[in-house]
């Protein structure tokens, strides 16, 4: 693995080739491996190692970026020249700020996210776990498909104003689908520490879902009370957080335009962005090296705060919207410059309400007269960007709830659901957990029970 010292040495070599007013290098990479299985067989099994240096130069309000994965002197000279050539031909941008000072990264540290045993996982370790998963499948007369991946990565941001931020972490993930003749079940988990993953436990839950949803029947589309497991919640709510960037509001492409400070969701919805949360992952600094702040985005249903990169905060302060959007300050949520997106909160933590009110998924089912339990959602896309209507499908374990019990598997539904309406109709929440889906980045969310969830069609399985 690349070290902090090696990253600093690369930056020193990069600087030697530059004539720019300011220069920044992001050095990142690592090694990763993924064992993939299907039909109870490991059918793809890959590993890679690679590192990249990405150089941003600035000439009087003009900036550009160039990237290479070669670290010899000729390649470093070339990448600096490529960045400078792209920057020089532009018109100056009066909104471009000087690079962040060293102090901006101060205090950017979080919980340990690097675990030696995760970094050291071997193909044999992963194959053993997959063997156990396949064992669960075979003992249930099912077919298993899924992945077991692990990685060790690093990221350094260094600039000519003396800023130097460094992050290293490991990651591990298991995703399991169990297939029966006409049904399936699914589970997924990830963690920086592989000891938090239990391949057999995940497999047994997925297998139970596959077994219990066998012979799925069609239920007429309509509005139902639904119990959404955390992965389903994550994949839905993930579609709104890019709208919490200050630049999204300045660009008038956010559903929060004209809605800041209003009560948009139910009083039981409070959401934070918190990179230091023990169940979160990722670096404690943003794409400019600025320390990520803990910030409350939604308080008891009221849209409270936006996140800002440095330049978005400056622009917002000067804009006519300045008096309508709450506190304006750089929050350490910017993407690497230059970019059109600005910033976004990427370490979402739902509060989940008072602990005493938390319900397990089983308790939510038990309190439901008639409804639908959703394990997972699929192919979610935005239908309406301002009302935040999303469409998508249920998948891999959809059940009818009758009189507080799961009574049968259901054919999968298509939904067209407004997120705003959904978060206004949450009747119960569970303990927030680190959840992982396929449509959004990982976050800390609870399972929820929602009334009037809008299923519009049913598919053939």
């Amino acid at each position: 693995m690349l070290t902090k010292e090696k990253a600093a040495e690369i930056f020193e070599r990069v600087k030697r080739h530059s004539s720019a007013d300011e220069i920044e290098a992001i050095v990142y990479g690592g090694h990763s491996a993924l064992t993939r299985f299907a039909n109870n067989t490991i059918h793809q099994n890959v590993a890679e190692e690679g590192y990249v240096v990405s150089v941003r130069t600035v000439f009087g309000g003009r900036t550009a970026r160039a990237t290479t994965n070669k670290f010899d002197d000729a390649s470093l000279r070339q990448v600096v020249q490529a960045s400078e050539a792209l920057a020089r031909v532009q018109q100056p941008d009066p909104d471009l700020l000087p690079m962040a000072e060293a102090a901006a990264a101060a205090g950017a540290s979080g919980p340990r996210r690097h675990f030696e045993e995760t970094a050291a996982l071997t193909p044999e370790d992963r194959a053993r776990a997959v063997g156990a998963i396949v064992g669960v499948a075979q003992s249930n007369r099912l077919t298993a498909a899924g992945i077991f991946s692990s990685s060790e990565s690093c990221e350094a941001i260094l600039n000519s104003r003396g800023l130097a931020a460094w992050h290293t972490q490991t990651s591990s993930e298991i995703s399991v689908t169990m297939l029966a003749a006409d049904s399936s079940g699914w589970q997924k988990a990830n963690s920086p520490d592989v000891h938090n993953l239990d391949a057999v436990a995940l497999s047994e839950i997925a297998a139970r879902k596959a077994r219990e949803s066998a012979g799925p029947q069609e239920l007429a589309p309509g509005k139902y009370t639904v119990v959404l497991e955390p992965a389903a919640v994550l994949d839905l709510v993930g579609f709104m957080f890019f709208d919490f960037g200050g630049l999204a509001v300045l660009d008038q492409r956010s559903f929060l335009n004209n809605r800041m400070g209003t009560k948009l969701f139910g009083s039981n919805i409070t959401v934070w962005d918190d990179a230091a949360h023990p169940l979160q992952s990722g670096a404690a600094f943003d794409g400019e090296g600025v320390r990520r702040q803990r910030l409350r985005l939604v308080h008891q249903g009221v849209i409270e705060n936006l996140v800002y990169a440095r330049s978005s905060a400056e622009r917002m302060k000067k804009s006519p919207l300045a008096g309508q959007v709450g506190e304006i300050q750089p929050t350490g949520h910017g993407f690497p410059l230059p970019n059109e997106m600005g910033e976004a909160p990427m370490n979402i933590v739902f509060e989940g309400g008072p602990e005493a009110s938390h319900q397990t998924v089983s308790q939510m089912v038990a309190s439901t007269g008639r409804g639908v339990l959703v394990t997972r959602l699929w192919y979610i896309r935005e239908v309406d960007p301002y009302e935040k209507i999303l469409t998508g499908m249920t998948r891999d374990g959809t059940f009818l709830i009758e009189d507080g019990k799961l009574t049968r598997g259901l054919r999968n539904f298509r939904f067209n659901q407004s997120l705003i309406e959904m978060l206004s109709k949450v009747e119960a929440m569970g303990t927030p957990v680190r959840a992982s889906g396929e449509e959004s980045f990982d976050m800390v969310v609870p399972p929820v029970k929602v009334r009037d969830f809008n299923f519009t069609e049913v598919t053939r399985f």
């Binding site: 064992t35 590993a47 490529a82 193909p123 469409t391 998948r395 053939r460």
Partner: protein, 488 residues
């Protein structure tokens, strides 16, 4: 490059691989974007590396590195072998590859102007002209434009003796106008949404697109959508423009014909397929007018799925997928061809880059145009009542590819054979085979465009790939319209 590959292949063979291939990739990209009169981003990327794929003990292993010195290359090949040995611990049977005569070849995308030879200043100048046209329209609140160039050079060597060098140029551009007012954000894009049009061509593509010439109209349409009528709900005759039909093909034909999905290999992520093996040559997929091919050959055009050889060294081919409405072919690989009784791969394996394993990908999955002359305006004139859908806005389909729902940026009411008022928020939905069986007209060759989808995601780890989709405007009867807004 040959020496590098030899280090890898020799190491793999020495350590017990019964098959090995090595792909070396040298890639360069330029990406430029403007937003509201300023440069949004300007970036240049270069990447070089090696991927080694092996079969040991009847199982696959793959390892990749960007360190191209001899010790690193040999260590990477050794890692691939060790990974394959681990794979062999969990298998039901050995991997079998369909035979393929090893090719020795050198091929380059035909192009007129190397996009990297054009000046960045001119590139940005073009985008800023488009931007100015968009923002000249009162009510446009956000203008975005982009240009993307990619040069992808690959050397493929196999333990069977293949030695293939290919260079591809990929060029793309597009723009979008947003209009926010009241409680609506409306958007129009050109020439297609989500980045525009992409082909395996040089800079000449940009000159063909007439970006500046179309910007004012697109800006005006984005604003006009605010005062347009809401798309109605019900059963309608619909006409899809060629770009939307291209995406319809991608989602409801291109993905379900991938044989790896059919065989369960993608069950955990991308999903499986309703096209089980018993449906080959028996299923009526669409009406008699539906003729679809998977064509990677240059004769089909400069699509994002055009190449000389796939990433297993199999020559580009044209496979009939739907023939006069009947389902006739899958996308296959050397490993999967035997499952459909084929002695040879269909040549569809591609990898995103040096660090990814080749998997089955769509090539150019295109519907053939109608044989009789028919323009879009003539098709509208032939339609008593219906809705014309233009430019995709949202797309979703289930994991077996039965139930789909698409939204487009704009719709037009058709009444008495004439294009009438504008409709906002149009959507339609259906079941794949019912939909394709309802097609009763398709426009002719002069209305046919080979669209590029640059961002098709598949695989774990995720790989993004460009695919091509030729399509002409087509008409469908009794389609469910407006479900996306039902209940809101």
């Amino acid at each position: 490059m040959k020496d590098l590959a030899a280090w890898a292949l020799n190491t793999a063979k020495t350590r017990g691989a019964t098959y090995a291939d090595a792909r070396l990739v040298d890639e360069r990209a330029r990406s430029l974007a403007t937003k509201n009169g300023k440069v949004g981003h300007a970036s240049d990327g270069a990447s070089q590396g090696l991927g080694v794929r092996v079969i040991v003990d009847g199982a696959w292993g793959f390892a990749a590195t960007d360190a191209l010195d001899r010790p690193s290359v040999e260590a990477t090949a050794a890692r691939a072998v060790a990974i394959a040995r681990a794979s062999a611990q969990v298998k039901q049977h050995d991997v079998r590859l369909a035979g393929e005569k090893p090719a020795v070849a050198d091929w380059t995308t035909p192009y007129k102007v190397d996009p990297f030879s054009t000046s960045v200043e001119d590139n940005l100048g073009l985008l800023l002209k488009v931007d100015a046209e968009l923002r000249a329209v009162a009510g446009v609140t956000l203008a975005e434009a982009n240009l993307n160039f990619r040069r992808y050079e690959q050397w493929f060597y196999s333990s069977e003796g293949a030695d293939i060098h290919q260079v591809k140029f990929i060029t793309g551009a597009g723009f979008a106008a947003y209009a926010f007012a009241g409680t609506e954000i409306q958007k129009r894009s050109f020439p297609n949404s989500f980045g525009g049009q992409y082909q395996n061509k040089g800079y000449e593509l940009i000159e063909e697109l007439e970006l500046v010439e179309n910007a004012r109209r697109i800006g005006e349409e984005a604003v006009a959508l605010h005062s347009a009528a809401q798309c109605p709900e019900g059963s309608f005759t619909i006409i899809l423009d060629s770009s939307q039909l291209g995406l319809q093909i991608h989602e409801s034909i291109g993905h379900p014909i991938e044989l790896d999905r059919v065989l369960g290999m993608e069950a955990n992520f991308a999903g499986t397929s309703f096209l089980t093996l018993d449906k080959l040559r028996t299923l009526r997929y669409g009406s008699e007018l539906v003729n679809v091919v998977a064509d990677a050959t240059l004769a089909h055009g400069p699509g994002l799925g055009t190449f000389a050889y796939d990433d297993e060294g199999v020559p580009a081919q044209c496979t009939p997928i739907i023939t006069r409405g009947r389902f006739t072919g899958y996308l296959s690989s050397r490993e999967t061809a035997h499952a459909i009784g084929e002695p040879r791969s269909g040549g569809t394996m591609r990898a995103e880059g040096w660090n990814r394993l080749p998997i089955i990908r769509m090539t150019n999955i295109s519907i053939l145009p109608g044989e009789k002359p028919l323009t879009l305006e003539q098709l509208i004139a032939d339609t008593d009542e219906g809705i014309l859908f233009e430019t995709n806005r949202s797309w979703s389909i289930d994991d077996k590819r039965y139930n789909f729902q698409f939204g487009t940026e704009i719709g037009w009411e058709i009444k008495g054979g004439k294009r009438g008022r504008m409709l906002k928020n149009p959507s339609y939905s259906g079941i794949t085979t019912e939909f394709w069986n309802s097609m009763d007209a398709i426009c002719s060759r002069d209305q046919w465009t080979l669209w590029g989808t640059p961002n098709c995601g598949k695989g774990q780890p995720m790989q993004t790939m460009g695919t091509g989709h030729g399509a002409a405007p087509a008409r469908f009867r009794n389609v469910k319209v407006g479900s996306a807004y039902k209940g809101h």
